[in-house]
């Protein structure tokens, strides 16, 4: 009796979770339609459909396929990547406030990207496909640095010490970035400033292509590891007792999380807080089981970034507010709320 009850509860939860995923996906589709319509030149829904099926005017096709679609696709991709990256970090470090932005990993990736951009004569000459790789090197180096600085023998990684270390390392990286930005010529300066503020600047298909392989490989990999993450969540000792290679799994998952964060930073600069807000809301909506929580995080992250991007483009037409700023305005209060809620 007891057992059937438990199973039915699990079953109900799974159904509820799948419903939530469906609703989120529908919301993304709605935001997609709104976002496609947002901009200096408006397209009616009918024109939009016509253009999508190849029956629009040349101008409409240009706007849709060359400007708006790639940008929206990128928003969706980086939103999903950042949120899943945050979910993995929160799981691995068992720390509610972990996020690639707060831990300084975005700053590390950004510093490397900036170094590379400043060495190329013009911003367009930089090889786009290398950007995520370069960002990954910077992010991985930063992650290793933070890990080793926060690690203490016999105590391991204390959650708060990890966050404080991350905050400090991020401050150091930004100081280095400031020194670099001031040496740039005004043209590059404007570019770097916008990029650092978290603007989705790579608004063409080649950026989508440079981002896609990372996400297509790493996202399913992490979701595939959902069961492992459930076990890791039980604590290191229990997980070891259940037969998990804790250190090895942690390392692989973190590497994947760093890769996801880094590839997003390469095209979007420093969009923070997505990795924090996405997983938290996901946990609330579908519960802590990673099989549902990870996809829900991905969808919520995508929804958050596409919404923020649309808002950013809408407020100050025809100029725009960088997406990262809009996300920070939504995300920082949420972080503070979480901070006030959690016990020390």
């Amino acid at each position: 009796m007891q057992r059937t009850k438990v199973i039915s509860f699990e079953e109900a939860r799974r159904k509820h979770g799948l419903n939530v995923l469906g609703v989120l996906a529908a919301l993304i589709v709605i935001m997609f339609i709104i976002s496609v319509n947002t901009g200096y030149i408006r397209l009616t829904p009918l024109e939009l459909l016509n253009t999508l099926f190849g029956k629009g005017t040349d101008k409409q096709e240009l706007i849709l396929f060359q400007f708006r679609l790639p940008r929206i696709v990128i928003s969706i991709l980086i939103g999903a990547a950042l949120a899943v990256s945050g979910a993995v970090m929160q799981g691995v470090f068992r720390n509610d406030l972990a996020d690639p932005g707060i831990l300084g990993i975005n700053a590390g990736a950004g510093l490397m990207v900036m170094l590379m951009v400043s060495f190329y004569p013009t911003t367009s000459a930089a090889p786009v496909y290398l950007l995520p790789v370069v960002a990954f090197v910077g992010a991985a180096f930063t992650a290793a640095l933070i890990y080793s600085l926060a690690y203490k023998r016999h105590q391991g990684i204390a959650p708060i010490r990890l966050l404080l270390t991350g905050v400090a390392v991020a401050a150091g990286m930004s100081a280095a970035m400031i020194v670099l930005t001031l040496r740039l010529d005004p043209d590059k300066y404007q570019f770097v400033a916008t990029w650092l503020a978290g603007s989705i600047w790579g608004t063409s298909w080649k950026f989508v292509l440079s981002l896609l392989p990372w996400i297509v490989i790493l996202l399913p990999y992490v979701i595939y590891k959902a069961r492992v993450m459930n076990v890791l969540n039980l604590g290191e000792q229990t997980a070891t007792g259940l037969g998990a290679h804790v250190t090895r799994e942690q390392f692989r998952l973190l590497a994947a999380a760093v890769g996801l964060a880094a590839s997003s930073v390469a095209v979007s600069g420093g969009i923070g807080f997505v990795g924090l807000v996405g997983p938290h809301l996901a946990r609330r909506l579908v519960g802590p089981k990673h099989q549902l929580m990870l996809p829900a995080s991905a969808l919520l992250g995508a929804l958050l970034v596409i919404t923020a991007d649309t808002i950013g483009r809408r407020i100050l037409q025809p100029s725009e507010i960088p997406t990262g700023i809009v996300v920070a305005v939504i995300g920082a209060p949420y972080f503070l709320y979480l901070l006030a809620r959690t016990k020390s």
């Binding site: 707060i102 966050l163 930004s174 100081a175 920082a332 016990k343």
Partner: protein, 352 residues
Amino acid sequence: MNQQAVSRNGLDQRAEPLKLRSRPWAATLILIGGLIALALGIAVSVSFGAADIKLSVVWTAVFHFNPDITEHQIIRELRLPRVLGGVMVGASFAVAGAIMQGMTRNPLADSGLMGINSGAGFALAVCFAFFPNLSFMYLILYSFIGAGAGAGIVYGIGSLAKGGLTPARLVLAGAAFSALLSALSEGVALYFKIGQDLAFWYAGGLAGTKWFQLQVMSPWVIAAIIGAIVLSRSITMLSLGEDIARGLGQRTGLVKLAGALIVLILAGASVAVVGAVGFVGLIIPHLTRYLVGVDYRWIIPCSAVLGALLVVGADLTARMINPPHETPVGAIISLIGVPFFLYLARKERREL
């Protein structure tokens, strides 16, 4: 067992009379030596630059000023205000940090980490954007208000938390709130195309310091530092714990209010002149406490001198790294401050 013994030992030490743990002779030595070093630092800073000027010329420029000589002009109009600004800002940030650390008993307190600098910064970004012709007097005033609002919000959110206000939580609330404010400031800067004006200011620099800024700022700073010294005995008591302070007959609420006002004036005025220079208020009070002991009657004046020395030194370094280009002072101090912060975060055992 062992741990108990340690904690009892710790209590015993705290209960000992203050005199035993403060070192007035060390403090006197620091004050005298520090002032001499500061005078030397000022002299070097004034004579060093794109045009090297002999110290004897500096002397005559200050005491027998002749407006027809270019070198005298450079010294009077560019280098003197710059170095004096450094002195004032360094002393302010350090004293503000010392007061905060003493009052809140929070080893990680610093105006840069607690939302004060970014609050003032945001207020200034708004001023630059909407009232570009505002006089410096009003800029400083708005900077105070921004600093106060920033500190109030960070402190409020930190204390709302279950389990009360811990140093780590305060730092995290400060970091998140600063992220929010800099996002907003960046938004304002991008929209009003004042990015590059604000950028250097954000990085922290003394290069643009003018006499009139010092004139507006100095009364505030001097009054606040004197106030801090007057308050120092009460801060020492507060640093022993609120209960002890109250037991000794202190009106803790009043002292805290006065302390908070002084911190806001010092940090607000400094941010208005040099921008977001962090970590001075973190490093210097720790160093001073290590050198002179726990009595804030010594800590505050010594912090002022050492803070001034740090900023003047950092500014000199910033000019020497890549001449004739300037490296922001804020970045230089961050490079010292970040490792120091990491060290403190590792060392702190009870709270973290």
